[in-house]
Symmetry: C2
Subunit: 328 residues, 2 copies
């Protein structure tokens, strides 16, 4: 079997996760890592060659799919667009409001280069979105609910770290149990922001810091914390490193709906993820999408896609015959 | 907007569920019901015209998609094959072991008639199968678990009704809580049949029946009950009608897997259905698939498909642009 040759752009947590995921995929081989840092600074665990971003275009015949592991705010709008000129690719662009714009832009470039790009792959956007789509299609009379956590929000942790006197911080988003239970009962409640999630913060402060000031700055921060019930714990650097070094996340997507005579029959669809490592799970989705991008392009397709456009069987290593026999 | 004209073959619980589901779909209109019974015996709730099965072929220009609502054991192998000569269609064929054979057969006919058939749509096979596929593709190192229930098994209820002295019976399949919890913890246990599900039976016996005999016949019945912990309750006809007239079902599909350094990070994917009406939920899946069959055929596709082959967006009423904007 000819293996799919995968390239990784960006070697942070997500890029490292993809390195593991490609290793776990028998039908793939890692062909190279591309970075904006100078290549000699990077020592990949698997010993795969490292190249500078500028070298990528020259490597277009050695790489079947590029997995672009940059950040959505600044990296992906530029990197995905540039790489789409030469490669089939996958990214995890997750700025929901800007997805249509990113899609249009990448679609134009990928059609011209006759390659396939899959954007916004991951779990939200990604698997959660897919579940919203399938569930709405099946139960047109109903309500959608998405809960995130328990998990680390990178954006909220960063916001705390910018407060004066803070050395390090981690913020967990936590779904409110009784809200989950109300949704799970099929009641179809209307829930405010405050009723759905709480925020818990673990902060390492400087020795001379004003803890009251920090706590108040966090709890009143607009957009990030003001609309939530927030708890702040000050802990030592040692405890922080021992207890809060992971990047867990997850959440639940619900659709609750009704059917039949007088809409009397209730149905509840629940899709729940519990993830020890947010970037490693996201990497699993990206890697499955890389397989799909490669296969779609082999069949002559081009342009930008999302998980909404991909026949599920394209993501799985087995053939359609095997899948029907083993999984249907 | 031109509406999709849907036909229903078979007007039992599933056919009635499809009638409700088409009514809830703004982009569809019910064009007719086809039955083996004589049409005047059938009074559809919506007043839609009823035809005999023999009239179906003549109606091929009035119906865009036929939803075939027969039983898998005897009806669908024949009916789906016959109707595929003239119609785009959807069925819920659920004899897992015979899916490859049914697929090959229907594929040949649908390719010749240049129509699209979607088989084995529902929740298992169907949405549960899809979740097995997606989850395996994302987490290649892991284990799958499917639990059914709490819900009514038609086959097991029928088996009890065939015992001498039984007037009526309903059997509930119930997942074992501690097995669910072990899977949910990510432990990846190996579970025997007995450890996964229990069976609870509600039986209305004849006045002079030998209850000990009936209970023993149930509990020792090979394939159906012998491998399970089974409870039998004898109840009155009134209680039976008051408490056990519904057809609830559901279940959970799990994949638990590991990633990363020394496979130390655990991930749990859980897809759970809680359904007041098994046939009405199945009807929701069939109806969404009817939309997909119609759209695929409009684009020039033909042949047999399953949910594994269908880009998710084809199931939903909204356009790809709207889906990206609203659900991704």
């Amino acid at each position: 079997m000819e293996k799919i040759r995968v390239g990784i752009t960006g070697y942070g947590n997500l890029g490292k996760g993809v390195e593991y995921a490609v290793e776990s995929s028998d039908d793939m081989v890692l062909a190279g890592i591309f970075s904006r840092r100078s290549p000699e600074q990077i020592k990949p665990r698997t010993g795969v060659p490292v190249y500078s971003m500028e070298q990528a275009a020259q490597m277009k015949n050695q790489i079947d799919v590029m997995i672009v592991c940059g950040g959505s705010a600044n990296d992906l709008p530029v990197q995905t667009a540039q790489l789409a000129e030469h490669f089939n690719l996958v990214d995890s662009f997750d700025t929901h409001a800007k997805i249509p714009e990113h899609f249009e832009n990448v679609d134009k470039i990928s059609r011209k280069s006759k390659k396939v790009s899959i954007i916004s792959a991951g779990w939200d956007p990604g698997m959660f979105s897919l579940n919203r789509l399938y569930s709405q299609a099946i139960l047109p009379n109903g309500s959608d609910y998405t809960f995130w956590g328990k998990g680390v929000s990178q954006g909220h942790s960063d916001a705390i770290r910018r407060i004066d006197g803070v050395l390090d911080a981690k913020q967990y988003t936590i779904p409110v149990d009784c809200a989950l239970e109300r949704v799970r009962s099929g009641e179809q409640p209307e829930l405010t922001t405050r009723e759905k999630h709480t925020r818990e913060c673990f902060v390492v402060a400087k020795d001379d810091a004003d803890l009251k000031f920090i706590e108040n700055q966090i709890k009143t921060m607009p957009n990030y914390f003001a609309d939530y019930d927030t708890t702040v714990h000050f802990i030592s650097k040692d405890e922080f490193e021992a207890e809060h070094s992971g990047i867990p996340h997850g959440g639940v997507v619900f659709r609750t709906g009704t059917t039949g005579k007088n809409q009397k029959n209730k149905h509840i669809i629940e899709y729940k993820l519990t993830l020890d490592s947010n970037p490693e799970f996201t990497a699993g989705v990206l890697t499955a999408c890389a397989r799909a991008a490669y296969r779609l392009n082999k069949e002559g397709m081009s342009g930008c896609k999302t998980l909404f456009d991909i026949p599920p069987s394209y993501l799985h290593q087995q053939s359609p015959e095997e899948l029907r026999k083993n999984l249907l």
